[in-house]
Amino acid sequence: MIETVPILVTVNGTRHVLDVEPRMHAADLLRGMLGLTGTHVGCEQGVCGMCTILLDGTAVKGCLLLAPQLDGCEVETVEGLATGEELAPLQRAFKEAHALQCGFCTPGFLMAATALERSGRRLTREEIREELSGVLCRCTGYEGIVRAVERRLTGG
């Protein structure tokens, strides 16, 4: 019998004390144990980027992180972006630029773009595309997504 591991993790500012199975990945912990289903699960092998979250401020793939590794860390998910009913500026930019259709990839893009936004870097369109290339979208063709992020990064 494999023992569970006790962890203390802060998610979107709320501290949680949990007992986790070592083989559970971080995205499953967020969805299954905390009910934060905004973090989506796609390939579960680090390719699609749906499960992108911020780990101590850095964009990472939740499916490639074991739940016990979250001990002592701060995690941010898409649920942490809006304030009540009020969307964050990046979310508004996505809405205005028609940066989503089915919306399945949107949490991944929003979290990857949130890290970019906070870095304060001024990026060209090409650089934005490169920085976001770890999240896949199957319906928008990326134009709207890149436009939304570009507007945010240039203060639009």
């Binding site: 023992e3 199975e21 083989r23 850095t58 793939k61 499916c63 490639l64 770890g134």
Partner: protein, 287 residues
């Protein structure tokens, strides 16, 4: 949950990690960035009994430091830190250059230099660069520390000279010849390489080239040096005919695999074409 069950242990020091590896000899895996290990766990390609998390060892293994005139990169240094390091940019520019070809932003935020080398993917860019630059792998085991040259380190697909109870602690890049070119061909952006190629050399004032190293990835069961091609070029002035002949010699040191990414025939076609182009670019000082 995708992986088969395993026990999770956090190593508190390198000695502790080595002791754990020794205790679970052959049945434990070290977890660093996890960008290769965790997919393999999720796909159940690996079913270790114990996963030893070494991410807490950044104090010992997370530094990029000058050691004499060599650059020692701690095994836990992440690709994103390589991207930001002025020391690497200045002293090991080829390493800095290839990081852009690895994974994507999220992968580069987590993946480590030591993990890439110890994983020994035949298509891996970092492994290729250690060969091209003659790097030294420093490993710690129950009997102490030993250094392994890159040429003796990669033994086959995902197989290295590390013993089951040894842990890679540093990758040391001695001063290398200053000029380089790198090329990679993949099926799609930042996918595993069908062919990756690094050429390194030193142009001499008399127009000859010295210290030539040509490293090939994706075209053998491990990254390899095209030694015969490098020998043909060493100490000579290069012209088109010499470069063309040397590029053909690169096929002597590789046996390209057939897989779903590309046929062996296609890879054999790519090798001399791109070795010739990179050598010409190196000699001409252009891309």
């Amino acid at each position: 949950m995708k992986p088969a069950p395993f026990e999770y242990v956090k190593a508190v020091s390198v000695a502790d990690a080595v002791a754990l590896l020794t205790e679970h000899r052959g049945d434990a895996r070290l977890l660093a960035g996890g960008q290769s290990l965790v997919p393999m766990l999720n796909m159940r390609l690996l079913r270790p009994s114990v996963v030893i998390d070494v991410n807490g060892l950044a104090d010992a293994l997370g530094e990029i430091a000058l050691q004499g005139d060599a650059v020692a990169v701690g095994a836990l240094v992440r690709y994103a830190e390589i991207e930001r390091s002025s020391l690497v940019a200045e002293r090991v520019p080829l390493l800095r250059h290839v990081v852009a070809y690895i994974g994507d932003r999220q992968v580069r935020n987590r993946g480590t230099v030591g993990g890439a080398v110890a994983h020994a993917d035949p298509t891996g860019e970092i492994a290729l660069v250690t060969l091209a630059l003659g790097a030294i792998m420093r490993a710690e085991g129950p009997d102490g520390v030993r250094d392994i040259h890159a040429e003796a380190f990669f033994l086959g697909p995902y197989t290295t000279a590390l013993a089951p109870d040894e842990m890679l602690t540093h990758v040391i890049f001695p001063p290398a010849a200053p000029a380089f070119r790198f090329f990679e061909r993949g099926r799609k952006h930042n996918d595993f390489a069908v062919l990756s190629l690094a050429v390194v050399g030193r142009p001499e004032p008399d127009g000859t080239w010295r210290d030539i190293r040509i490293a090939l990835g994706g075209v053998h069961d491990r990254p390899v040096l095209a030694a015969a091609a490098a020998r043909a070029l060493e100490g000579r002035r290069w012209d088109d005919a010499l470069v063309r002949d040397a590029a053909l010699l690169a096929l002597e040191d590789c046996d390209p695999p057939d897989d779903f990414r590309a046929s062996a025939e296609y890879r054999r076609h790519l090798v001399p074409v791109h070795v010739r182009r990179m050598l010409s670019a190196l000699a001409g000082g252009h891309e």
